[in-house]
């Protein structure tokens, strides 16, 4: 119990710490990799909370996802190395307030609610994977399939948005060079 609390707290602090670093560094690769390690810490929290499959999945997915984030940061930023020390933020006070209020509300809800009785024992890890599989391909199959189709749609949509617009076909050979 105390060991679990300790690990959840440590990885939670790591996740928050790296999460703050994301917006405090001016180097874009650092910021993307800080987000990666924040997400990895979240995955480790899952492991500490004995949901092994989800934790490993989170750790695996985020490594590639955030690395791809890093290259897009380098592509689209004016100062990816952060050597110029540019300030890339606006409406700072308003955002700080909004973030603070959001966090405070969530904390208040977490502390003030009555969460009811807590189960001390988690199911065995192999059992969890098995049950999740049955859930996924049984009762929640429709949701699972919807998620899959959503990903496919998003892939096609994103590719279609990203590829350059084709020049209109000029049948009458007008204005071939610009």
């Amino acid at each position: 119990m105390y060991i679990q609390a300790f690990f959840v707290a440590v990885f939670g602090l790591a996740a928050i710490g790296f999460g703050v670093v994301v917006f405090r560094t001016s180097s874009m690769v650092r910021s993307a990799l800080a987000l990666l390690f924040s997400q990895t810490a979240v995955g480790c929290m899952f492991l500490a909370m004995q949901s092994e499959f989800l934790g490993v999945l989170q750790i695996m997915m985020m490594a590639t996802e955030m690395s791809i984030m890093a290259i897009f940061m380098v592509m689209f930023m004016m100062d990816p190395g952060g050597l110029g020390g540019m300030d890339m933020s606006h409406q700072k006070r308003f955002s700080l307030g909004a973030g603070g209020i959001a966090a405070a509300t969530a904390i208040a809800v977490a502390l003030l609610s009555d969460w009811g009785p807590v189960t001390a024992e988690a199911p065995d890890a192999a059992m969890q994977t098995r049950e999740l599989g049955f859930e996924m391909l049984g009762r929640s199959m429709l949701i699972f399939e919807t998620a899959a189709v959503t990903i496919l749609t998003a892939m096609i949509a994103a590719t279609a948005t990203a590829i350059p617009a084709r020049e209109p076909a000029n049948h009458d050979h007008k204005e071939t060079s610009r």
């Binding site: 119990m1 959840v8 707290a9 939670g12 602090l13 928050i16 999460g19 917006f23 910021s31 987000l35 924040s38 997400q39 979240v42 929290m45 899952f46 909370m49 989800l54 997915m61 996802e65 791809i68 984030m69 897009f72 592509m75 689209f76 930023m77 890339m88 933020s89 606006h90 409406q91 700072k92 955002s95 700080l96 973030g99 959001a102 966090a103 405070a104 969530a106 904390i107 809800v109 977490a110 969460w115 009811g116 807590v118 189960t119 024992e121 988690a122 969890q128 999740l132 049955f134 859930e135 996924m136 949701i143 998620a147 959503t150 998003a154 892939m155 949509a157 994103a158 279609a160 948005t161």
Partner: protein
């Protein structure tokens, strides 16, 4: 009432707050997406904590986590698609310069 549940919920709350700050304060589209990812990470922490400590026998909780992970991936893909299109058209993905999107 267990301290571990509260700890996890507090972490989720603070991650959510940091994410909201980032999504509102950054001027770059990709940085805003990072804020959104942090918000979703906070949601994930809460979901897993609820599953583990309140209803470990209901696997819809874990299923929900998978759906949120899907949302994260989809958000990334579509966001990058939009960013690439914007960068092609205007040469920048700064939000301050995106006034022309206002209707």
């Amino acid at each position: 009432m267990t301290p571990v549940l509260i700890l996890a919920l507090l972490t989720g709350a603070v991650l959510f707050g940091v994410g909201v700050y980032g999504a509102l304060s950054q001027t770059n589209l990709v940085m805003i997406m990072m804020g959104v990812e942090l918000i979703l990470a906070g949601a994930l922490v809460n979901l897993v904590a609820f599953w583990r400590f309140l209803h470990p026998e209901v696997y819809s909780g874990q299923m929900f986590v998978l759906v949120v992970m899907t949302v994260m991936a989809v958000e990334m893909a579509v966001g990058f698609g939009v960013a690439t299109a914007r960068f092609r058209a205007k040469g920048s993905v700064e939000m301050e310069e995106a006034e022309d999107l206002k209707g």
